[in-house]
């Protein structure tokens, strides 16, 4: 069993979950995910890892409460024991010295982009972080991200913090701030990933997105997470979760994510439209 160290709602509907899983914490790298189950009958929920403490043997993830299973996770409290924390799964995000890297996080992705920002910074990149959300009250971790960012920019749909607007505004934001990106990295819900990939294609630089399709085992066994990338079938859990967003068949992925909407209980942590 794995101990819950803390579970805290950090902004409405988004929870920070910290778990003790020393062996996973020891291996985890930026961009990887874990699969958790909150009790013995619960489904397996993939969560992108947002931080870890190797000396304490703990790791954290941010998840959105959207349905029955994430609802169970959202009721966990410190000291609870859960039966499954398995990982780290998926390939780590590629971290090299790229130059200027723009990291865009929305929803739970503001959390999962954090270790990527930190690692890119440590590699000597100039990291620009963009937090995206419907409104100021949905943004978090400003202070946590700050030390590792060259610039931190916010984008809210209602203009309550930073720039007003959506990803369409990004081109203008870059021009205004004289940002010439060498690479984009985007974490967040599928809508954000899809729209950002389309919007940023004009820059003609790698646009790495962390995909979040429906998964069961997370180890390449079931194939439910299959996506079409550059015309080829890929399993997000083992070939990804990072792919170049310019090559992803977004329409197919968005359709595949809706498979169990009717069954409602099957809602992974990032299954809903969080306003992106």
């Amino acid at each position: 069993m794995f101990e819950v160290i803390q579970r805290q709602m950090i902004v409405p509907n988004l929870h920070l979950l910290t778990l003790r899983a020393p062996e996973v914490a020891e291996q985890v790298k930026p961009g990887q995910f874990v699969i958790v189950r909150s009790d013995k009958d619960a489904e397996r929920i993939p969560l992108s890892v947002a931080d870890w403490d190797r000396s304490e043997g703990t790791l954290s993830a941010i998840f959105m409460e959207v349905g029955a299973s994430t609802g169970k996770l959202a009721r966990l409290k410190a000291g609870d024991l859960i039966p499954t924390v398995v990982g780290p799964l998926g390939k780590p995000t590629e971290i090299e010295k790229f130059g200027t890297v723009v990291c865009i996080g929305g929803c739970y992705g503001i959390g999962s982009i954090f270790p990527i920002v930190r690692a890119l910074h440590e590699k000597g990149n100039q990291v620009i972080t963009i937090r995206e959300g419907r409104s100021a009250y949905l943004l978090y971790w400003e202070d946590k991200l700050k030390p590792y960012c060259h610039r931190q920019i916010d984008l809210t749909r209602d203009g309550t913090m930073g720039y007003r607007g959506h990803v369409k505004r990004l081109t203008e934001v870059f021009r205004e701030n004289r940002i010439v990106p060498d690479r984009f990295i985007v974490n967040g819900c599928t809508f954000l990933l899809a729209r950002t990939s389309n919007e940023l294609a004009q820059f003609n630089v790698p646009t790495m997105v962390s995909l979040n399709p429906i998964m069961i085992d997370g180890t390449g066994m079931c194939g439910v997470c299959r996506v079409t990338v550059d015309g080829k079938m890929r399993f997000a859990c083992v070939h990804g979760p990072d792919f170049d967003g310019r090559l992803v068949d977004w329409e197919e992925l968005l359709t595949r994510r809706k498979q169990y909407v009717a069954e409602e209980a099957f809602l992974v942590h990032h299954a809903s439209d969080c306003g992106a």
Binding site: V86, L89, T255, Q259, Y260, A265
Partner: protein, 486 residues
């Protein structure tokens, strides 16, 4: 001297749930022999001096020995004899293809019908379980050697069981949250109740096996890291990577790999939905591509979920079906419709991305291919459309690449299978053995167990220098079949 006994040629049938009842429930289809039936059937065995059946068994069970015990109504002795060679009698009694192995070589086959070895094996194991706590056999004193077994399917369980009995400290790692591998996620409840699998694994834990679930070797720790802690490692990670058919439309909603379809049902308890939390779709017309046991399992699962029509779409003819005959007959009785010599070539969706029909081609049989089966040849222009709302791809599985990908020194074939000595299971890395589907490609439970047995012997020898006595002829393991045959 006793009077020469007249041959009893009537193999006793095992009571089953009637087809019209069982096609709508997930309870076990075959109900098992009663003690009376078992004794009558056991008495048919001729007790050959040189038993051919044993030669047909990959783990070399003393078959006449345990059957004699049943005939003498000493069921406790029967299970003891079985467990000397087979740690999983309740499972093997249910899912081994006996008709291709022990029962095929039974001398009674020539007369009429072989001794029902599998059914008697199952009877013995179930009888024991019904008696309450199982007997714990004598275990050798600790050797002080630590062994890691990666994967808790049939191969891993066999290695673990054998090595625990020999006094080694064995830890078995499982990536999923439940042990058993394909026995747990793949084979459905109605063919192999999960309680039976759990019972066998509990037994191994009672013998001293340490089970670590939720642990992905290749991710949580690499193989190299395991080697720092363990004196020997066995890899039995199976054939877990589903193959698709590479035809248009495979990513439509309503298309599943058999692994997904069965895992949702079995591991995640989908058949209990909405009481379980992993949802399943109710489909009306389901087509399953493939002709192996996995295809039969998928089709019969679909029926039980309430589908109105379930089709097996297979590109060869009935004779070439790789599934066990018994499972084919069960499927037919339950109402699965077989479309032989039919090849799906395109999956067609509606405007919302859901599967609505499949396009197929008729085939005819040509010359035999390398598997010895007649090659299916397309009949051009024979295209036709079947209305379908779910399509399950059961055309086989490849080896899971997680360990080879993170272990550069491990030699693998071009297909990604681990290269292992067929006599010992030794791999290209010192102190590392492998066996089961990860080596042979998708095959059967008992072949994986046979490989586990050979590897356990070799591992024990390397760990202690002691050569174990072997009985019968040691065999290498066959090449993988094209269709999955678990």
């Amino acid at each position: 001297m006793a009077e020469k006994k007249k041959l009893d040629l009537n193999r006793r049938d095992m009571p089953k749930q009637p087809p019209h009842i069982r096609r709508r429930n997930f309870n076990e289809v075959a109900l098992g022999y009663t003690p009376e039936l078992a004794v009558v059937e056991a008495k048919r065995c001729l007790q050959c001096k040189k038993p051919l059946c044993v030669k047909g068994c990959p783990v070399e069970i003393d078959i006449p020995g345990f059957i004699k015990c049943i005939a003498d109504e000493d069921f406790a002795a029967a299970i003891r004899v079985l467990k000397k060679k087979n740690v999983l009698p309740a499972i093997c009694g249910r899912v081994c293809p006996q008709e291709e192995q022990c029962e095929k070589t039974c001398v009674l086959v020539k007369k009429k019908a072989s001794s029902a070895i599998g059914r008697l094996e199952r009877f013995s194991a179930d009888w024991e379980a019904a008696q309450g706590p199982v007997e714990i056999p004598e275990i050798r004193p600790p050797t002080g050697k630590k062994v890691a077994v990666v994967g808790s399917g049939p191969a891993g369980i066999t290695v673990a069981g054998d090595l625990v009995m020999l006094g080694h400290e064995v830890t078995m790692f499982e990536a999923l949250h439940e042990a058993g591998g394909v026995l747990t996620y793949g084979i459905p409840e109605f063919r192999l109740p999960k309680a039976v699998v759990r019972r066998e694994i509990d037994y191994l834990q009672k013998l001293g096996l340490k089970l670590v679930a939720n642990y992905v070797v290749g991710k949580t720790k690499t193989l190299d890291q395991l080697l720092e802690f363990y004196d020997a490692v066995f890899i039995g990670t199976g054939a877990g990577l589903p193959w698709f058919m590479e035809i248009p439309g495979e990513n439509l909603n309503g298309v599943y790999s058999a692994n997904e379809y069965l895992t949702r049902m079995n591991l995640m308890g989908g058949f209990k939905y909405p009481r379980s939390s992993t949802p399943i779709k109710r489909h009306r017309r389901v087509a399953v591509a493939g002709g192996g046991n996995v295809a039969m399992d998928s089709a019969r699962t679909a029926l039980r979920l309430g589908a109105e029509e379930v089709y097996i779409v297979y590109r060869r003819s009935r004779t070439e079906l790789p599934a066990r005959l018994e499972e084919v007959e069960n499927a037919e009785e339950e109402g699965v419709v077989f479309h032989f010599l039919t090849l799906p070539i395109r999956l067609i969706g509606d405007d919302k991305g859901w599967l609505k029909e499949i396009e197929c081609l008729r085939m005819e049989l040509g010359e035999p291919d390398k598997s010895g089966r007649r090659r299916p040849v397309k009949i051009e222009g024979s295209n036709f459309i079947m209305p379908i709302d779910a399509f399950v791809v059961a055309v086989g599985n490849g080896p899971n690449p997680l360990i080879p990908n993170t272990t550069p020194d491990l030699e693998v074939t071009s297909g990604g299978n681990i290269v292992a000595d067929p006599k010992t299971g030794k791999t290209s890395i010192d102190k590392v053995w492998a066996g089961g589907d990860i080596v042979t490609g998708a095959a059967t439970v008992i072949l994986a167990m046979g490989a586990g047995r050979l590897a356990a012997r070799s591992m024990h020898e390397c760990l202690t220098g002691e050569k174990l006595l072997t009985t019968g002829t040691e065999k290498g393991l066959g090449e993988g079949e094209e269709e999955s045959e678990r």
